[in-house]
């Protein structure tokens, strides 16, 4: 008897919830929002701007500007034999910090074996002093508001992947993390029929680093300071002959 009463109450409650849910759906539908996952085309009563597909790929431009250290640089993007990943960053956005840090990684791998170039806005909109704190050791950083305009950069961080020989932008968009960006790039490269292979970026070595590496290599070959082979006296010594 008690069980029957409880069952009846639950049934009434469930029926009420279903009615309420239906009324909510009808109200949303009236507002132009269809939450039905089986609906053929989701409709939105509020118009949200969506990216429009370009009939033709955007054509990139070469990069020219100053650096945060007061130097000047021009970088070939269009017509280059390699692809280029352009990273539009600022010194102020918190999301950009992850990319500044990622780009400082010596073993950073870029999909498509692309050359990485960081672009910030020009001096009128950026702080060179702040940028110098973020500058990756081996990645060029160019300050150019003109480049931001040329690529219609809507937000930072923003990225554009350029196929060198054609100069076409084969992929572009915003990303929240390096992993997210890598996924986007690999997808864009695959869509464009380009290789997604990732090679390690050659780490820059300054004179001291080169010297240290040479020392290590010599030591591993058993050539220590003062070794006779370091002081050739005859042509045979130079040619390695006996």
């Amino acid at each position: 008897m008690v069980l029957a009463v409880v069952l009846a109450l639950v049934s009434v409650l469930v029926a009420g919830l279903l009615r309420s849910h239906a009324e909510i759906l009808r109200s949303l539908h009236g507002l132009g929002v269809d939450l039905d996952p089986d609906a053929a085309v989701p409709t939105l009563g509020v118009t949200v701007p969506r990216p429009t597909a370009r009939s033709e790929p955007r054509v990139a431009v070469d990069i020219v500007g100053i650096t945060p250290t007061g130097d000047a640089a021009s970088i070939t993007v269009v017509g280059a034999q390699h692809s280029t990943l352009l990273a539009f960053l600022t010194s102020g956005c918190s999301t950009c910090v992850e990319f500044w840090n990622a780009f400082s990684e010596p073993e950073l791998r870029i999909p498509g074996d692309a050359r990485l170039v960081v672009l910030t806005k020009g001096q009128e909109a950026e702080s060179p002093a702040r940028l110098r704190k973020f500058m990756p050791p081996t990645v060029p950083v160019v300050m150019s508001s003109a480049a931001w305009d040329a690529f219609d950069v809507p937000v930072a961080p923003y990225f554009a992947f350029v196929d060198g020989p054609s100069g076409a932008v084969v992929g572009e968009g915003a990303a929240g993390s390096w992993l997210h960006l890598v996924g986007m790039m690999e997808q864009a490269l695959a869509d464009a029929g380009m290789s997604t292979k990732r090679k390690g970026r050659r780490r820059a070595e300054n004179g001291r680093a080169r010297e240290a590496r040479a020392d290590r290599d010599l030591l591993s070959a058993g050539i220590e300071p003062g070794h006779a082979s370091l002081y050739p006296t005859t042509d045979a010594d130079l040619s390695g002959g006996s």
């Binding site: 000047a72 970088i75 400082s104 002093a129 990756p136």
Partner: protein
Amino acid sequence: MSELDAHALAVEVPAGWEGRIFRRAEAGEARMASAAVQMGVPAVAGASAPPGEKTMPLVHLATVPLPHDAADYGAGIVETLGAGDAFVVLKEFDAAEAGEAIFEREGIPRDIDPDVFDPAALQRRLPNQAGTQVFFHEASRAFCLYAVLGDYARRHEVVPRINEVLATVRIEPRVQEGPTD
């Protein structure tokens, strides 16, 4: 064509060329990013100078990508030159040396004879390559112009392109620059 202008030097960089006008960091100079300091590599293009060495502006121009860590005379660049490629460096020396005999020539060469290029005139000899080096002074500044061809056999084709770039170089009297920070 894009114009580079820094350190009282300017040049028009044609399409297909890369260029940069830069000065290496002096020892202890705050031109390096914190990450660069941790890694012991320079954020400024090229290696930083040894303690006590005063660094001067450099211009690198090439028909190949300019790596961030190239040496003054192009080690790191010349190895990548193809047959139709060229590399040009304009290296400044201390203005106090502008009156020295080695810098006696006045004005940057703008019409280099292709036949002055010589495979023996390379900082580092590489197969098929040839180079030339000219010291001069201009605007009370002392310079060395050094150019490398990817292929000596194509000097009559490539040197005119170098001359076109040299024709656009401007050298202004240099105002003493302070530290970047």
